[in-house]
């Protein structure tokens, strides 16, 4: 007999009907290790403000508050509180079909209720004290993580949708990273067959693809591979999902080089890298302009603003910086410049979260990032992510070395294309130099699943065959047992204060917002900020 299960509402999928019940073969994981079961339940119970639960009793669903007797060291029972009026519908004889579905920090789980006691004197009571008791489960099913959010618009945005000479007036009523929901204004009229739809707002005009419709609601998705269309789609999404963020290209004067200076990134990573008469900020800006003209990079950079002053206070970037095969890419998350102040904590969170939203469209690819493990917030974010997701995420202790070139370099003939290298477990890419202030995008590194440890000289020699005469920066990532690699015509110059490599499949990285929510909650509790 199939059992009715609850699944989290998926973000504006192709189906706008109520969430479907998952089929038996849906990929979920049963956790039976007592220690892991305990860890998950303890986390859930520890963070009531960041968790929720539903009791599924047959075809009925009730919000349920679950708690424990906090005075006892060993917890054998869970106490549940459902609305007293709902208690009469609960039949402890039928609990075999009852489920508890719970969420904590955006990760969802469920378990079957085993043995339940109801409080008989509680039906008419308005007292919201526990009225159900059930055993602590011995196994828990981990559901798919909440991958993205739906954000309803407080003030729906009027838009005009056109497709094959058909013109539809509508309101944008809900956004998510994966799709928009529109409400058609001319109700009762049959929709023409749609495929490619032009969306026009007062300020933007871009194409979306038809996903589905239901009554007056039309769901359209973006074209992630069409740079301009996707750019404007994502810009509109950001406006509602991350209101403190603006695309870098939307600023009349590029704010990122100054932010790199103000946040101390230039001093930290490139202090002695440039001659005294060269302004590193100018180089960063020029190379950004060049990178913007390289479609394969799919460069996307966001700037966070202080809503009170409207001044930029931080930035972060993602780009398809590396290629791991003919068809697969490794994206790089880099350049987190944030003016250090507790005041901009929310902006710091947003500067990470948007990248997960953006990259959710490219789940087949991987992502790599290098950071200084002394940066406690970043370090905590990724170690927590690794700890919760476990598989598909690597965090390695590495050494990032920058090289200088001994040959005379003519930078005036700089290549207008990015050079990608991928072979035998080694990945590298170059140009434009200093897109990232630490030079981390002009780098050779071992691929995620590679067993290459830097010993094979022929691989290094092969890398050097790349025609790249105008290069003047290069960095390599090695594990800590190797000081640096040797490159012909290059001299190892400095060890960059970056010592950690985070690499993951994007399918796992998109759970980042869950870890961000967790460490944000933790920071609030530590500092007694509600």
């Amino acid at each position: 007999m199939s059992r009715p299960n609850l699944r989290l509402v998926q973000p504006l999928s192709a189906d706008t009907s109520l969430p479907e019940l998952p089929s038996d073969n849906e990929k979920t994981e049963w956790i039976t290790d007592p220690q892991k079961v305990q860890n998950i339940l303890s986390l859930f119970l520890q963070w009531p403000d960041y968790s929720s639960a539903i009791l599924i009793a047959g075809d009925k669903r009730y919000d349920i508050k679950i708690e424990i007797d906090t005075e006892l060291r060993d917890v054998e029972q869970l106490f549940g509180t459902i609305p007293p009026t709902a208690l009469s519908t609960i039949n402890p004889q039928n609990i075999r079909s009852y489920l508890i579905h719970f969420e904590v920090f955006g990760l969802a789980y469920r378990f079957e209720v085993d043995q339940m006691v109801t409080r008989n004197d509680h039906h008419r009571s308005s007292d919201l004290t526990p009225n159900l008791i059930f055993n602590v489960p011995t196994k828990i099913q981990r559901m798919a993580a909440r991958t993205s959010r739906r954000i309803p618009l407080e003030n729906p945005l009027p838009v005009v949708l056109t497709s094959d000479h058909h013109r539809i007036e509508a309101l944008l009523v809900e956004v998510s990273p994966k799709a928009f929901r529109f409400e058609i204004i001319q109700k009762g009229k049959d929709l023409p067959p749609l495929d490619r739809v032009k969306v026009q707002t007062e300020a933007l005009r871009f194409d979306m693809r038809y996903l589905t419709h239901r009554q007056e609601h039309l769901i359209l998705g973006p074209y992630p591979d069409e740079q301009e269309n996707f750019k404007y789609y994502f810009e509109l999404f950001l406006k509602y999902a991350h209101p403190t963020l603006r695309p870098r290209y939307s600023f009349a004067e590029d704010p990122v080089p100054l932010l790199a200076e103000q946040s101390g990134q230039i001093d930290k990573y490139a202090k002695d890298e440039f001659p005294p008469d060269v302004d590193p900020k100018k180089i960063l800006h020029e190379n950004y302009l060049m990178a913007s003209q390289m479609p394969e990079l799919k460069l996307m950079e966001m700037v966070a603003i202080d809503p009170e002053t409207n001044q930029p206070v931080g930035s972060s970037s993602v780009s398809r910086a590396f290629k791991t095969s003919d068809t697969e890419y490794a994206w790089c998350l880099y350049g987190l410049n944030i003016i250090p102040s507790p005041k901009y904590f929310e902006q710091s969170c947003a500067l990470y979260t948007w990248s997960a939203d953006y990259l959710s469209h490219f789940q087949g690819d991987s992502i790599v990032m290098w950071y200084d493990s002394k940066t406690r917030w970043t370090n905590k974010l990724f170690t927590k992510l690794k700890h919760f997701i476990r598989e598909g995420i690597n965090i390695d202790s590495v050494r990032l070395t920058r090289y200088s070139r001994t040959l005379t370099i003519d930078v005036s003939h700089r290549s207008k294309e990015r050079t990608y290298y991928y072979k035998d477990g080694v990945v590298g890419a170059f140009n434009p130099p200093y897109l990232h202030v630490a030079g981390g995008l002009d780098t050779i590194y071992p691929d995620i699943n590679s067993t290459y440890k830097g010993e094979s000289k022929h691989i290094i020699a092969d890398v050097l065959k790349i025609e790249n005469p105008e290069r003047y920066t290069l960095a390599s990532v090695t594990n800590n047992s190797i000081d640096y690699l040797e490159f012909e015509n290059y001299t190892a110059k400095t060890t960059i204060p970056v010592n950690t490599q985070f690499s993951s499949l994007i399918g796992y990285f998109i759970n980042t917002p869950s870890s961000i929510e967790h460490i944000t909650a933790l920071a609030r509790r530590k500092h007694n900020v509600l």
């Binding site: 305990q38 303890s42 986390l43 006892l72 060291r73 054998e76 006691v117 406690r376 170690t383 202790s397």
Partner: protein
């Protein structure tokens, strides 16, 4: 069995310090997953100075978890500096060293064995499984709590109060009843001290209580216990406040007193007769331990102090 374990983390913070990238943070995540209540109390560092600033600002960092490697050079007094603000508040600090090899285990022992806060040196290879780490950290927490208790009241003082109390009551029986009722309760170090010294304090007659005034630790526990002295046993059971362990110690004493008057069994039966799964904590604990307490009362019925 789901463990609660919240109270042992009350009142102090811990710093994890390792010069090896990622090590302390990874360890913090492991501990946080095993003890979610501890997460808010843990902070990891890879450099001494930021750790020092953190400890100076917070003033509640009492436990240092230091990762020792063969190349570790952090002097003993540097560790003491981290916890000196905590000690200035009158508390005892603890040092747990996690060594990455036998060699660093030995060198850590040589280097830190004189540190007054040293709780234990563990080998990281012995902590590779979650269950091993959980068990070891529980040991460390127990040792840390014991240090706090000993910082307030020495073992000699505790034994002295037991001896004095023993002149007036069957202190051994009172301790055993108290243990039965409190053993299932989550306790912080002050609760542990209450369980340890509370029965003796209650057993000393009012006229002799001046003895306690020479011991700040005993006086502190007496002040916690006093407000509940006039409570009826059923009030102690039903009351909803956070001093469950104090009420449990008082409840044990009231049962003991009733037993002295030949009414202990009746009182116990009364207190447990209407207990349901929704009853208050102490009522359920009493019901669960009822048989053991009854057995104890029956065994000692013949040797009640007149």
């Amino acid at each position: 069995m789901l463990k609660n374990i919240r109270k042992p983390f009350r009142g102090f913070n811990a710093v994890l310090l390792s010069e090896k990238p990622l090590e302390s943070q990874m360890f913090e995540e492991r501990l946080s997953a095993l003890f979610p209540a501890a997460e808010v109390s843990l902070d990891s560092f890879e450099e001494y100075l930021p750790a020092y600033e953190h400890c100076s600002n917070l003033k509640t960092v009492g436990l240092i978890i230091l990762f020792a490697h063969e190349t570790s050079t952090l002097p003993v007094n540097a560790i003491s500096e981290l916890t000196s603000p905590f000690e200035a508040l009158g508390s005892q600090s603890g040092l747990w060293i996690v060594a990455d090899s036998e060699k660093s285990f030995t060198s850590s022992y040589k280097q830190y064995s004189d540190h007054p806060g040293l709780l234990k040196i563990s080998l990281v290879s012995d902590l590779s499984t979650d269950s091993a780490l959980k068990s070891e950290f529980e040991n460390i927490l127990d040792m840390f709590s014991t240090k706090q208790v000993e910082g307030v009241l020495s073992q000699d003082e505790i034994e002295l109060f037991d001896q004095i109390s023993g002149k007036f009551v069957d202190i051994s029986l009172l301790h055993r009843i108290t243990q039965l009722i409190t053993t299932k309760l989550d306790q912080d170090w002050l609760d542990q001290l209450t369980v340890r010294i509370g029965p003796a304090i209650l057993g000393i007659p009012q006229a002799q209580k001046w003895i306690l005034q020479n011991s700040p630790g005993a006086a502190r526990i007496e002040a916690k216990v006093n407000p509940y002295l006039s409570f009826h046993p059923s009030e102690l059971v039903e009351r909803k406040d956070s001093h469950t362990v104090v009420r449990a110690v008082l409840l044990a004493y009231k049962i003991f007193q009733a037993h002295e008057n030949g009414e202990g069994i009746t009182l116990l039966q009364d207190l447990t007769k209407d207990v349901t799964p929704f009853s208050p904590t102490l009522a359920k604990v009493l019901k669960q331990t009822k048989l053991h307490i009854l057995q104890l009362l029956r065994e000692t019925e013949g040797r009640r102090v007149a």
